[in-house]
């Protein structure tokens, strides 16, 4: 029997970047196949190609043995491929049935035939064991139910192959359980499911086989029954990277950053950071390990001041900054390397020298009192360019023109040259090439030797283990373990991150 999906040598290039490099993937009919990889590994690009949202530059796609080329999602739908996006695409003010038929409404004499639609919906629901009330309004449904509507919507259109893009990201644990039950039922009824995720425990639980993608390449396809979370973590992160060794300890006893009993709630009132306390000393790098979505982003947002904490205190060099504005914190010596440089780190359309000033625009050499100091900003940026090896024709090009690695070096450079007392570095080497990565590690190490206190958050376990003096593990909003990086390998760390080590069954 021909596999449901077969991708051979899929390659996709963006200017200066190879997002997918000779990807091979075979998904058998009727299985749940997980695609694993870090953010930026190329999973989403691959799925967009498979769903016809972007054309591949090279490679062959076969669906049920037939070679296909998709120029739009409609072509993919016609071949029986459906996608459930991470961010649900439903009209809140419309009913379930209206959402399901949206875009392919059955009509009778020019009028929407709701009876036929409902009959078909019920049929689909029966066939796959999914139940929804077609007359419920979307905004009255829980997130998990909304997701079920999305799945039904795809099945309603005759999809035999479902792509689910990080479906658990928005769900609470009970909803995840329910989703998994639904998926198992779908599989029993003959559907093929491609499941994108980076939560290893979930992947192991639900899938039959797993393909790991790293840096745009397929690393391996393994049977879920034959691997552990630790194996997967190793495959995802890889081992051929230059090792980010820190060298001799420079940790002092001066507390530079102290977070005490910090609790942050999300919009739904859930404690997304739950009573967290930590201390970072001068000359210390404190690594925070955790699978994404366990509260790390909210923790740093609360420390930087872009998200209000509910309770708890934050002290920098003995000063309470809990109620200070972002600017006061930055001026007080808080450096910040955001996790998403395009969203929080850069003004893409502004020249480099203005980007270098961002976050430091109230201080010399970027400004003199009320006025922007243009010559000062330019020469400072020029210095960053030389010292941090930012490859650019000059400091007047817009940040958009630089490659990701050079953008990141610019950000690291502007934070380091401002000589912060505390640095919050979130995924400082995410999505940049190996050379730039080594540069960034060097800079962080050097600053550490000079007494910088760094709070490091990373999904790259080698980076965490190699750079950190101490590692704390964040799980469901709480710090659940404090580990010595000298005595731990990625596999063990991975089992702490998934909570497996905590239950004692790693």
């Amino acid at each position: 029997m021909a596999p449901a999906i077969e991708l051979i040598g899929i390659t996709k290039r963006f200017p200066g970047v190879i997002a997918n490099d000779n990807i091979n993937l075979t998904v058998a009919e009727g299985e749940i196949h997980a695609i694993c990889g870090e953010n930026g590994a190329g999973k989403s690009t691959l799925m967009k190609i498979l769903y016809g949202m972007q054309p591949a530059d090279e490679g062959v796609m076969r669906v049920f043995g037939e070679e296909v080329t998709f120029s739009s999602p409609n072509d993919a739908i016609e071949r029986g491929i459906g996608m459930v996006h991470q961010h649900l695409m439903l009209a809140d003010q419309m009913s379930v049935i209206e959402n399901v038929i949206l875009g392919s409404e059955p009509t009778k004499r020019g009028v929407i035939d709701f009876d036929a639609a409902k009959a078909h919906l019920a049929e689909v629901g029966r066939a796959y064991g999914l139940t929804v009330d077609p007359d419920d309004y979307i905004d009255t449904l829980e997130i998990g139910e909304r997701q079920r509507v999305e799945i039904i919507k795809v099945l309603y259109r005759g999809a035999k192959i479902l792509i689910l893009d990080e479906p658990t990201a928005v769900l609470v644990p009970q909803e995840v359980e329910e989703l998994f039950n639904n998926l198992r039922e779908l599989k029993q009824d003959g559907a093929t499911i491609i499941f994108i995720d980076h939560k290893l425990q979930e992947v192991l639980e639900i899938s039959d086989s797993i393909t790991v993608i790293r840096r745009g390449k397929t690393v391996a396809t393994v049977a879920a029954s034959e691997v552990t979370a630790g194996d997967l973590a190793e495959l995802m992160v890889g081992e051929e990277l230059p090792s980010p060794e820190t060298g001799a300890s420079t940790v002092t006893t001066d507390v530079a950053l102290a977070v005490t009993d910090l609790t942050v709630r999300d919009d739904d009132g859930r404690a997304i950071v739950d009573n967290v306390s930590l201390q970072v000393h001068r000359g210390e790098i404190l690594g925070v390990a955790g699978i994404e979505g366990n509260g790390q982003s909210e923790l740093i947002n609360a420390i930087v001041g872009t998200y209000a904490a509910e309770t708890g205190s934050i002290e920098m060099a003995g000063r309470d900054i809990g109620s200070a504005s972002v600017r006061e914190r930055r001026e007080g010596g808080l450096g910040y390397v955001p996790q998403d440089r395009h969203r929080e780190g850069l003004l893409l359309d502004a020249p480099l020298w203005e980007n270098a000033a961002l976050g430091h625009q109230t201080a010399a050499p970027y400004s003199k009192g009320f006025w922007v100091d243009r010559p000062g900003s330019r020469s400072q940026t020029q210095q960053i360019r030389e010292e941090f090896d930012v490859r650019t024709p000059n400091v007047d090009v817009s940040a958009r023109a630089l490659s990701g690695g050079n953008q990141q070096k610019l950000i690291i450079g502007r934070e380091m040259t401002a000589e912060p007392a505390v640095l919050i570095a979130a995924h400082p080497t995410r999505g940049i090439d190996v050379g730039a990565q080594a540069d960034v590690w060097n800079q962080i190490r050097q600053a550490r030797a000079n007494g910088l206190a760094t709070l490091l958050i990373s999904a790259d376990l080698d980076e965490l283990i190699g750079l950190s003096d101490t590692i704390v593990v964040m799980y469901h909003g709480r710090l659940v373990a404090t580990l010595d990086p000298a005595e731990i390998d990625p596999r063990t760390l991975g089992s702490y991150m998934t909570g497996a080590a905590l239950k004692g069954d790693a």
Binding site: P15, R343, E344, V372, D433
Partner: protein
């Protein structure tokens, strides 16, 4: 590729040039279709344009348009769409005219009288725009909606309700507030202009507000480009998340930029109050606020760009008056030219912008290929 500098300058000029050609062609077609001679009509516009009096008229018309453009641009720089310049300037001018008339009864030096009028206008404009800013910051109400609504409240509500109460002469053909005493009028600038030109024909006085507009232009340019506040403003407009992480308080910036936008909007009605009519009456000039939005779009929110845009629109408005007198073609052809020019320019700007971005990426990646440097490799481009 040709010399990169030449190419960049060429690109900068290409957009407005293309838009102008397009606007002329479209209007020529409309003229011919409506039975007028397009060559004659353009000839009339041009020959009129070379007269000194037309130039003065153009400056007079460009002055309030430019001010309205700056008012809109302050918001645009922050991605705030202040549609309310219209209501802000009309309400401000009305309040200024009332205050100006009241002050007739007091013995004050002329400059204080003038100052009080201008300050009132700026203050009322600021309050009216600030109201939308406040609604956005505290209640999350979209400024487009609140400013449009407040336009109606200002013009159809407050001014329409209060104007009858301040009318002094119910028999006058054009009823309005009492004329402001002459001591508060701004002197015209003909004397200054005539230093370099011949004598300007009677009935054409260059408004003193022109000088205020020059000051606003400089303040706007310097404020936006050279001050920390301007940097905060622009960075919030370009990327509010990055600006926030960089210490810019988004709510404060929204409120402040709306207030500043309103301050400048308050000045838009000043030529009428201080130079022209010296009163607010039923025939008070309307529509400048919306004109200002066009000026800001066309001038790409830059002081220099908006100066050219305001001069162009002012000139075309002035031509419209001439066409009306000569009756060789419909005066509305000018509106068509303005609209097609604006539309074409916005499209052309975007087009040129893309070419420019592509050029820049090419140059930057050329710089990456330094002899010792590796070529850029795989990256997380899952976006």
């Amino acid at each position: 590729m040709t010399n990169p500098l030449v190419r960049r300058i060429g690109l900068a000029l290409a957009a407005p040039a293309l838009a102008a050609v397009f606007a002329v062609v479209v209007s020529a077609i409309v003229l011919e279709l409506s039975g007028s001679n397009s060559i004659d009509t353009f000839g009339t516009i041009l020959s009129n344009g070379f007269q000194l009096e037309t130039f003065v008229d153009t400056l007079n018309r460009a002055t309030p348009l430019f001010l309205a453009g700056v008012a809109a641009a302050i918001g645009f720089r922050m991605n705030l769409f202040n549609i309310g310049v219209e209501g802000q300037y009309i309400l401000a001018a009305f309040a200024a005219a009332v205050v100006g008339a009241e002050l007739n009864r007091f013995a004050l030096p002329g400059f204080l009288h003038t100052l009080a009028i201008v300050a009132t206008a700026m203050f009322v404009g600021a309050v009216w725009a600030g109201l939308s800013g406040l609604l956005k910051v505290t209640r999350g109400i979209n400024e487009v909606i609140s400013t449009i609504m407040l336009n109606f409240v200002a013009t159809g509500g407050i001014v329409a309700a209060l104007l009858p109460k301040v009318i002094t002469d119910p028999t006058a053909p054009n009823q309005g507030t009492e004329t402001i005493a002459e001591r508060a009028w701004l002197p015209d600038l003909n004397g200054v202009a005539e230093v370099v030109t011949r004598e300007i024909g009677r009935g054409r006085e260059l408004t003193g507000v022109f000088l205020i507009a020059v000051v606003v232009a400089i303040a706007y340019h310097v404020g936006v480009n050279r001050t920390v506040f301007g940097f905060d403003l622009r960075s919030s407009g370009m990327n509010p998340f990055a600006a926030f992480a960089g210490g810019v308080q988004p709510k404060k910036m929204v409120f402040l930029s709306m207030v500043l936008s309103g301050v400048v909007a308050g000045l838009v009605g000043m030529p009428e109050i201080l130079s022209d009519n010296h009163a607010y009456d039923q025939g008070f000039v309307q529509g400048l606020g919306f004109g200002g939005i066009a000026i800001a779009l066309l001038g790409r929110n830059s002081a220099l760009g908006m100066t050219f845009a305001a001069l162009l629109f002012g000139f075309l408005d002035s031509s419209s008056a001439v066409l009306q007198v000569q009756a060789s073609a419909s005066a509305e052809i000018v509106r068509i030219m303005q609209a097609t020019f604006l539309l074409a320019a916005v499209v052309a700007f975007e087009f040129v912008n893309r070419i420019r971005q592509r050029d820049e990426v090419a140059r930057a990646s050329a710089a990456t290929e330094t002899p010792n440097g590796p070529t850029p490799s795989i990256e997380g481009a899952s976006a």
